[in-house]
Symmetry: C2
Subunit: 388 residues, 2 copies
């Protein structure tokens, strides 16, 4: 008879980890409710999808039976194109299966068990998941005025002698951005031995030539790793491909621990084809801008405040967490998949992704059917439409 | 001015890791030689590719712009289908981006820094890469008669109080298999706190109903994790999808540390469609059997010994490592991508993958152009065709 599991323990660290997941997927919720959602606007996915050139290239690869072949473990062609795009060298870029994977590797590279990382309370949870998963400790500082707070991140990094600071700019889940000067100051004032992980997943929703969100890329500076993805504006979340840009000696560290054959071959092909279609980003920005305006108009119509966004989603302010939860529950029941922040002061918001017209209509119908409890922008108590 | 890198060190562990990679990719070699290979038969990839049903499903998903959506983080539909296929429960299966990823997670689950794992000298190097990458120590035992040696693995696991034993059955790079009784004995005699990682990447090249390679799956036994992939017989190496089967409490451990959104959505779709096409495996087995026979016949024609294989590749025996290296170098120059084992006594072999007819012809042409140095099967010194 085989021994029981207690004879085969996990490591002390894994044994101490709670069985949590960063996010519940919409498919899980669909199975629970027994029906598909009519609108899937809760995961900040693209309503548009990949560049038609990317789709064509991936279809051609399938026709040529390319899935039978491993991808190039060096991601050479893609790194070369990305290097040209960002004005850096190819060995200052590492490609992997999305920012989530790269964040995990970053924690592994720099944090000993017991080391501290700094993040923001209520920010993207997958970084916290990896810190815990590698035995680190996360000190989280509050948002300030619905923005991540570079000054507080900096102060905490000194107070806790942190190894890593995580900042998403633009931010998720609020969609806000902090001044690039504040980011530059954060970088320049980091404690010794501390790096900034600068998550730029949403950077392409802004025209970076006209209005750069973050300081210029400087790969001479080993204190910053910047993360980009094809999941958001490039519309390829399901393909799992992203990249990090940094000092070549830092990037070389990833080579020591990453899964060298970990990137999907079709993703490599699709991402490379995308980069040849800069116009796709222009179209996506226009479309997402219009989508945000529709959500904002809907919110205005119902007397709900909204947070100006630099991303493909808009945080609507329902005044307090209870109301926000009630609205989200009602919309979920109406078949609209959404998520909301769970931590004060963010938790009075519901995060609404830019969908297509059908999804926007479903959202509007959901708003119409429920009594949207809200707070007036002037700060007076909420007046719901039916007076309840 | 930014500080220099020494002020930002990696962890002690990462700092101690050599900048090695488990495998150099064929694309890297192509860039070095300045021309594409005419035959790519060195990475045990499928010459056939995915089931036509998988390809059709993935094309349809591209047409529907599905890459814009994240995959189901629970891999629910696929795990349900795999559970039915293997006669286990869905929570006894974890899906991730290939066996490489799952091996890395397994090391993370069970090995503290300084713990020991047991493997075979010259076996699949990615397991060793992960053991080193998480601070473990690998004790490797020699092959015996070109087979991995379960008795030696077992003895070493006791001698070193190992946490993990790694065995691929069928094996890579030799293509051989060990008796299922020997595997069953290994499992039953493992030291306390030690698990067997049983890599079954090549299992589907054998008809498992008629001639099972390994002991029956027994998920009541927490001492074994079995690894399967869609990369080999299912023909989807580039899609990065595989799975592990084990005791539900062991599988639950993966949930605590894996990247929950790490699996490509098209890979999920293609893998699920594959499972509806059992006939694809039948066709692949027939085709691979014929391909092996062609390679064996070519070897016979040139007086080169070969090793009976249970996989989609054949190890040819060139008598000693120097000759094997010379043959491989010559074939690489002729545009034939191959790999060979690097460790005695395996290193007198070159590993030849089953390709398509064009690739087999390129291999034959390569053999014809070079003087194939060999050893007669009777053990006498090699007699090359041109007498050199």
């Amino acid at each position: 008879m085989p021994p029981s599991l207690p004879h085969l323990p996990f490591t002390r660290l894994v044994g101490s980890l709670p069985p949590t997941v960063p996010f519940v997927g919409p498919e899980t919720l669909e199975r629970a409710r027994g029906a598909p959602f009519v609108a899937r606007i809760g995961a900040n996915e693209s309503a548009i999808g990949p560049s038609p050139r990317a789709t064509a290239a991936m279809v051609a690869a399938l026709d040529a039976r390319e899935p039978r072949l491993y991808g190039d473990p060096e991601n050479h062609a893609l790194r070369t194109a990305l290097a040209a795009r960002h004005g850096v060298a190819a060995d200052e870029i590492v490609v992997d299966a999305g920012i989530d994977t790269l964040l995990g590797l970053s924690v592994r590279l720099f944090m000993e068990a017991g080391d501290t990382a700094i993040g923001s309370l209520g920010a993207y949870p997958t970084f916290a998941y990896h810190v815990a998963g590698f035995g680190g400790r996360l000190e989280a500082v509050p948002y300030r005025a619905l923005h991540e707070d570079p000054d507080a991140l900096l102060a905490a990094s000194h107070e806790h002698a942190a190894r890593l600071v995580y900042l998403a700019n633009p931010d998720n889940p609020m969609g806000t951005r902090v001044d690039r000067e504040a980011v530059a100051n954060l970088i320049d004032s980091l404690p010794g031995r501390c790096l900034l992980l600068l998550d730029e997943a949403y950077a392409e929703y802004t025209d970076e030539t006209l209005d750069p969100v973050n300081p210029p890329i400087d790969t001479a500076d080993p204190r910053v790793i910047r993360f980009r993805t094809f999941s958001k504006a490039w519309g390829m979340a399901g393909m799992r491909i992203g990249y990090a840009i940094g000092h070549r000696d830092v990037i070389a560290g990833f080579e020591r621990i990453r899964n060298h054959f970990g990137v999907n071959r079709l993703a490599q092909i699709g991402a490379l084809a995308s980069l040849g279609d800069e116009g796709h980003l222009t179209r996506v920005r226009a479309s997402v801008g219009a989508g945000r305006a529709s959500i904002e108009a809907l919110a205005d119509e119902h007397g709900v405040s909204w947070v100006p966004s630099s991303t493909n989603f808009v945080a609507l302010d329902f005044g307090d967490a209870e109301r926000a939860s009630a609205v989200m529950a009602a919309l979920l029941s109406a078949g609209v998949f959404l998520r909301k922040p769970g931590v004060p002061p963010l938790d009075r918001h519901v995060r609404i992704g830019v969908g297509d017209e059908r999804e926007l209509a479903a959202l509007a119908a959901g708003f119409g059917r429920i009594s949207v409890p809200t707070r007036r922008r002037d700060g007076r108590p909420p007046a719901t439409r039916d007076g309840r």
